[in-house]
């Protein structure tokens, strides 16, 4: 069968790519997409440990919670992007600087 470490490495690769995207994207939508990648990497790790540690449901249940919270955070993030776009006519994060002086 497929060893546990290969699933964990897949999760680490997805996390690293999401981190890179969250650090480099200029648009807020791109950053949100990268955050979804990071949440998926966390889910892969949760389900992997759930399968390989034993007769437990905790990992899958928490993966479900993570999916629900990811949905809520994506909704709020995208609504914020649209509200900022409506007010400032930009979604580039370096232009969103009216809170700093």
């Amino acid at each position: 069968m497929i060893p546990q470490s290969h699933f964990l490495i897949l999760g680490a690769v997805l996390f690293a790519m999401g981190l890179y995207g969250a650090l480099t994207r200029r648009t807020a939508i791109g950053i949100l997409m990268s955050i979804e990648l990071i949440l998926n990497a966390a889910n892969i790790n949760l389900i992997t440990f759930n399968k390989f540690i034993g007769n437990e449901t905790l990992g899958q249940v928490f993966a479900l919670f993570v999916i629900a919270i990811a949905a809520a955070s994506a909704v709020i993030g995208l609504v914020l992007v649209i509200a900022v776009y409506r007010n400032m006519k930009t979604i580039f994060t370096e232009k969103m600087n009216i809170l700093k002086w």
Partner: protein
């Protein structure tokens, strides 16, 4: 629930006389590789609409990886919620915020090299730890089925389950309040 979808598929493959372990492993590595390729597309493509489509494909491949972990229910939930709802929401947001699909607009900021170095350092650190750690071998037939998950949600994790519904309600109301056009 020991006979997951992958095991049934491998039985079918076995009936055709192919080595089933090899087929299962090869399909896992193909799906995992595709997930990585599409994830790279999400962070590296210039057209942000293509990024959203690549994200959908990447999440679909991750749902395929869940099948190899005997988590069929989560694979279905992943396709329904992520691919069906969240990516659709991203595409709507891209369409509502005009002219960011343009190829001429730079999509990455000036920290590309530093960010790539940081991400590569963290990735190599993780892989170093993952390879070095003494993992147990797979405990066979221990993946929980849908029935176990439902029972756990209704008994041991009933309080977090209710909190999730509260969070979703708050997100719903908050999205309407923030997104409303103020007169």
């Amino acid at each position: 629930m020991m006979n997951g979808l992958i095991r049934q598929l491998s039985d079918i493959v076995n009936n055709y006389g192919l080595p089933q372990d090899l087929v299962v492993q090869a399909s896992f590595y193909v799906i995992a590789g595709l997930a990585c390729v599409f994830a790279f597309g999400v962070v590296a493509m210039r057209n942000i609409f293509h990024c959203a489509v690549s994200l959908a494909l990447c999440l679909f491949c991750v749902a395929g990886v869940y099948l190899f972990l005997d988590a069929e229910f989560l694979a279905i939930v992943q396709v329904l919620i992520y691919v069906g709802a969240i990516v659709t929401l991203f595409i709507f947001a891209i369409m509502l915020t005009a002219n960011i699909e343009d190829r001429s607009i730079r999509q990455a900021n000036r920290q590309v090299l530093v960010s790539a170095a940081v991400a590569a350092a963290i990735l190599s650190f993780f892989i170093f730890i993952i390879i070095g750690a003494p993992w147990k071998a797979a405990s066979a037939d221990s993946a929980p089925g849908l029935e176990d998950i439902g029972r756990a949600l209704m008994s041991a994790y009933a309080l977090p389950f209710e909190f999730i519904s509260l969070i979703l309600l708050a997100a719903l109301v908050g999205a309407i309040v923030i997104g409303k056009v103020k007169k």
